[in-house]
Structure formats: C-alpha cells, structure tokens
C-alpha cells in the first residue's frame, strides 16, 4: 500500500492537489490536507471530522440486515416446521431456497425494481431470500438430530406433538438453528453493502460515492466488519444463554 500512496501523492500533485476519483468539487469543499489530497492509507483527522457522515448509513445498514434476517428466519423456521410435519415437502423447499440462493444479488435487485421500486423493500426481499437456504437447512438438521429416545420418552409420557415440538424438539435443535442464523447474519451484513443499488442506502452508499478514496473505503470496510462481528458475538451470547445445558461438563 505504501507505493500506492506514494503514487497517489504524485498524481495528486499533477491534478491540482486533488486525489483521483474524488468528485470534482470535493477538493474545493474540503480543506485538502496532505493525507487526503495525497489519498493516504487512512486519514485519521478526516475520518474523525467526517464520521457523522457514516452514522446514518451505518444504522440504515443495520436496519436492512435486521429486517432481512428476521424475515428470513421467521419464514425459514416456519417452512422447516411445516416440512418436519410433512416430510414430502422438504426436497422441494430445499430445492426452491437453493435456486433463490443462486440468483446474483445485483440481478435480483434489478428484477425487483420495476415491481417494488427504489427503496427498502427491493433490498430486503433478496437479502431475506438468501438467508432461507441456510436457516431452513440448519433447522431441519437440528430437528433431525434430536435424540430419538428423548422424543420417544416425551410421547410415552403423554406429550402431544405440539408439546413435544415446543418442549423437546425445538429447544434441542436450538444450537443448529442459531449456527444457521449466525452464518445468515454475517453474510447478510456483507451482501447488504449492495443495497444502495436497490435505492435502500446502507454502508454501500458512502462507499460508492468516493470509491477510490482509501480512507473512505477502509472506514466503510471496518464499520461493516465491526457490525458483522458484533452481531455474531451477540448471537453466540444468546446461544449460551438459551442453551445452558451445553456448557456443563459430564460428571
């Protein structure tokens, strides 16, 4: 990166001290320091001064992720419960969610634009569709891995199928369900960077506006990664909280 920055300085000198790729009026609007003008690796002063420009897109990004994952989770778990009861439904649902997963996100957005228009819905629909496959499959695996003895005992003691599901099967499937939720969440945080294409904003918006300004790219990257890591950590903590029996050691 250092040679690049050095090159940036040279180029900036040649082009009236304004880094390449910045909007024409950018260098007039902002006081061009050595770092920004030279498109340094990361300009702390600029980042500190302009951080508020990222707060809005950050929370918008979080909103897109939250809506997409929650919607995907609800639909996927509902589909999993349906195919848990009616086994024949599993292969077609698995196939259907698999097909959705293979649609390129950009194509998905542009396909929806004529129907749902610019905005949140056009971003959230594909993103939640992408979460279906992993959450659905993990929920099915989790339900299938419930020890048969526990189910037999539950039925033998007089639990109805509904009671068995809520008191035995779903709690025991929780680790796999949350594992699927974690993967879905982290990947949604990444793909949501393209939500600006659907007109939904998010951290992709400031990224694309100054796509060759290093500080901007790194700031967006760090914020996106931080969001993914924090959400993942929250899910790990949630799992520990709801599955206390997994922490105990055999005695």
């Amino acid at each position: 990166m250092i040679p690049l920055a050095a090159e940036g300085v040279l180029l900036a000198d040649a082009a009236n001290k304004c880094a390449p790729g910045l909007p024409a009026d950018f260098c007039q609007k902002h006081e061009v320091t050595g770092c920004v003008g030279g498109n340094g690796l990361f300009c702390f002063d600029w980042a500190a001064d302009n951080f508020d420009r990222y707060v809005g897109p950050f929370f918008r990004h979080l909103e897109i992720v939250a809506i997409s994952v929650v919607a995907g989770f609800v639909i996927a778990v509902a589909l999993a419960l349906l195919s848990h009861r009616h086994r024949a439904l599993a292969p077609p649902i698995l196939g259907g969610t698999g097909v959705l997963y293979t649609i390129p996100s950009v194509a998905f957005f542009f396909l929806l634009l004529p129907i749902t228009g610019f905005g949140l819905a056009t971003a959230v629909i594909p993103l939640s569709a992408y979460t279906l496959q992993i959450i659905y499959r993990n929920t099915l695996v989790g339900l299938a891995n419930v020890p048969p003895d526990a189910k037999d005992a539950g039925r033998g003691m007089g639990m109805s199928e509904r009671q068995l599901l809520w008191r035995v099967e779903l709690p025991l499937a929780t680790p796999e369900i949350i594992a699927g939720l974690r993967i879905a969440t982290v990947s949604t945080v990444a793909i949501a960077s393209l939500a600006f294409l659907a007109g939904a904003g998010g951290l992709g918006q400031p990224l694309i506006e100054q796509v060759s300004f290093n500080t901007n790219i790194i700031l967006v990257g760090v914020l996106t990664m931080a969001m993914a890591l924090v959400l993942d950590l929250l899910l790990v903590l949630a799992q520990r909280f709801v599955t206390p029996w997994r922490r105990v050691r055999a005695g």
């Binding site: 003895d149 526990a150 005992a153 039925r155 033998g156 003691m157 007089g158 005695g251």
Partner: protein, 397 residues
C-alpha cells in the same frame, strides 16, 4: 401378598391390573403379526416380565399398553378399562414409562425432567416441587443433583432419574423397556436390587421387558416368554418356568443351568431340613451312638449348651466314653437360614462335605442341609410351589 399389593403402601396410589385380550399387532405390509393373540393377565402390584429372543415382539407388546403402538386386533385393559377407548395422551400420563437409554431430556435439569408429567397435568408449582423432592429421596438421589443436567450424572444416577420421572404422577402401571440394559453389570445388579426394594414400597403393576432370562427370573413375579412371531410360549412364575418348562423352546431359553437358577431364588429356610443327631459335651457316647441308629444324618453334631454347633464327632471321638469338648471335625460350613440356596450348595461342594449345619439368627442349630436334600427338592413338586414375590426374594450375587 395380594392383600399388600392391592392396597399399595401408604401414600401411593392403587395399582391397576393389566389384561391382554388376544392382543394382536400386524405392522402394515408385514406377512406375520409382530404380536399374535397375546393373552396375559397381570395382577395388581406384580412385576410381569416379557422376555424372549430379538424379534419376539416383547417391546411391541409392551408399547401397545400405552398405545405407542396401536393394537390391530383384540384389546388391552388397564384397570378394567380398554385402552382403545382412551385418548393416547391422557392414557400415557396415567402410565409410567421408562426406556433403555433413559430418554432423559438433555436440555432440562433433573428436577425439570422428573416434573415432566406433573407439568403436563398442570399441577401447581408447590405440589410439583414437593413431589420432585419426595421422588429424588425415594430413588436415593442426592437433593443437590436437582439443578444438574443429565449429562452431569453417571449412568446409574440417570437410570434412577428415569424411574423417578416415571413415578412422578404416581401411575397405577409402569412400563419399563430394558431399563437396566445400558448399565454395566455391577451397577445393573445394584440397580435391580434397589428397584426391587423400591417396588416393595410402591407396589406398582409393572410390565418389564428384557432379553436377559436371568434378569427376567430375578425381577419377575411372573414371566411371559415370547417366541418369534409374538407368540406366548409360557406365562408362569419363575419357579414354574425353571422346574416345568412348557416345551423345548422354553427349556432351551431358560438354559441348561435352570436348576441352579431355581436355587438362586430360594433361601435355605425354604427347604425342609434334616434333623441332626445332637451330642452335648459330657454326654455318654453310648447315648449318642444309639441316636445315630436309623438317623437321616449318619454323623453326630456336637453342640454347646445353647445348641450352637461346635463340630462333628468322628469315629474316634465316639470310641471314648464321654463326648469330648473338642470334636475332631470342624462344623464348617455353617449355613444361615437366610442364605441363598445356590450359595449354600456352592459352600457344600467347596468344602467337599455332604452335610452342613444350618443355624438361626442366634446361631442355634436348626437342621442339617445335605446335597441329597437339594437334589431331591429339585425333583419334587414342592419346588414348584415354593415362591417369593420378586421384591422379597434373596438378592444373590
């Protein structure tokens, strides 16, 4: 015993009888029934063991009782009521259920596991908690374990939790499918004995499934031997099975050592002992020799003033005028009336002796046991009649 059984011990609900009435199960697509016109009556408070080779339908037969397997034809009555006219959930909450791998819920604490059926029955919290405490004490589980998870317990402890959970709502009937199958032999023996002690207290009607004939003989008040195709080969007390197997299949299944197995179910006191010609210290040997004429035991046993055995008198002992204080031959082995017959026979054979004195709790002579009595007993009809309820049997090891 039936009097005790129907009343149940204080604090336990009355046990219910179970009657199989030509109960038949044919699985869809199967050529032959898994259980074929099974007729078995289980008296209240008794342990009925279903035993047989794999594929004999014993587990299927048991699971028909709580409708985990639907009956194809015939009926099963629990407490005189047909199970077919009851809703499966309601029926199952009235019947305790213990399975081989315990089937404990790994995500629930021990207390929560035991509270499963009370919660399904919507007992209030205080009643449920009190019941859990009572049951943990009943199956000898430390109260500290209440908040642990099953994975933190040993196999034997998990098995006790399984039994406590099945007893939670005080059911009239318990179904136990190879409950000790997953436990190592030493712990199995202990759990079996513990369970028999528990049964002596709670007196439930129990259907117990095992593939192990020794376990069946030990645990059963009555044993139903099933053969392949779910056909009842014999339904009888363990003594009858061992002494009078109905056919070659049963004879084969109970094993060549059935006579020894029979002895494991008896105590020395169950047999009519022989009377020993007794000799007392200082007595004239002429008197003793007179007693020996025509006696069942051809040797005189020297006893002290409390009639406690001191030893056998030898020929040379009898040559002197008076009975000596120290006889030539030791009285060992001295058997106790409560000794298990199989162990007593083993003691006789090991000591290479024909006769052994049997003493009561005060160590006073009660009679003489001989190898001959045992062999005569095994050939007699008396051996069929002598029977203890499983819960009161000697627990030989």
């Amino acid at each position: 015993m039936s009097g005790d059984a129907t009343n149940g011990a204080a604090g336990h609900a009355q046990a219910l009888s179970v009657a199989f009435r030509k109960a038949t199960k044919v699985y869809p697509g199967a050529d032959h029934p898994a259980v074929n016109e099974l007729d078995v009556e289980v008296q209240t408070g008794e342990i009925c063991v279903f035993v047989g080779p794999s594929g004999c339908g014993k587990t299927t037969a048991m699971r028909m009782v709580n409708r985990m397997v639907e009956i194809t034809e015939g009926d099963i009555l629990v407490g005189e009521r047909s199970v077919r006219e009851r809703s499966p959930s309601e029926l199952r909450r009235d019947i305790g259920y213990v399975i081989q791998q315990t089937g404990l819920f790994p995500h629930r604490t021990i207390a929560d596991n035991i509270a499963t059926v009370p919660r399904l029955l919507r007992w209030d919290r205080a009643r449920t908690e009190a019941r859990v405490r009572t049951l943990m004490a009943l199956v000898s589980l430390d109260a500290d374990l209440a908040e642990r998870y099953p994975a933190q317990l040993s196999g034997g402890q998990q098995q006790r939790v399984g039994v406590a959970r099945a007893l939670a709502a005080d059911p009239g009937v318990m179904l136990m499918d190879e409950p000790f199958g997953a436990v190592d032999p030493i712990n199995r023996e202990r759990l079996q004995n513990e369970f028999l002690r528990l049964q002596a207290e709670v007196r439930k009607t129990i259907l117990f499934v095992t593939h192990d004939i020794d376990e069946a003989i030990k645990m059963g008040d009555r044993v139903a031997i099933l053969r392949e195709g779910g056909i009842l080969a014999q339904y009888a007390t363990p003594a009858e099975l061992l002494m009078a197997p109905a056919d070659d299949f049963v004879e084969d299944f109970v094993g060549a050592d059935r006579a020894l197995k029979r002895l494991a179910l008896l105590r020395v006191a169950d047999i009519d002992l022989w009377e020993a010609p007794l000799a007392f210290v200082g007595q004239a040997t002429a008197e003793v020799r007179a007693k020996l004429d025509g006696a069942e035991v051809p040797h005189a046993l020297l006893v002290d003033s409390e009639r406690r055995p001191l030893g056998w008198l030898s020929e040379s002992d009898l040559q002197s005028e008076m009975v000596p204080t120290r006889p030539d031959i030791s009285p060992d082995p001295v058997l106790d009336r409560d000794d298990v017959m199989r162990d007593a026979l083993s003691d006789l054979l090991q000591a290479e002796t024909m006769y052994a004195p049997v003493v009561d709790a005060q160590r006073r002579i009660d009679g003489i046991l001989s190898v001959e009595i045992i062999s005569e007993f095994l050939g007699s009809t008396e051996a069929l009649a002598e029977e203890h309820p499983a819960a009161e049997r000697p627990t030989a090891s």
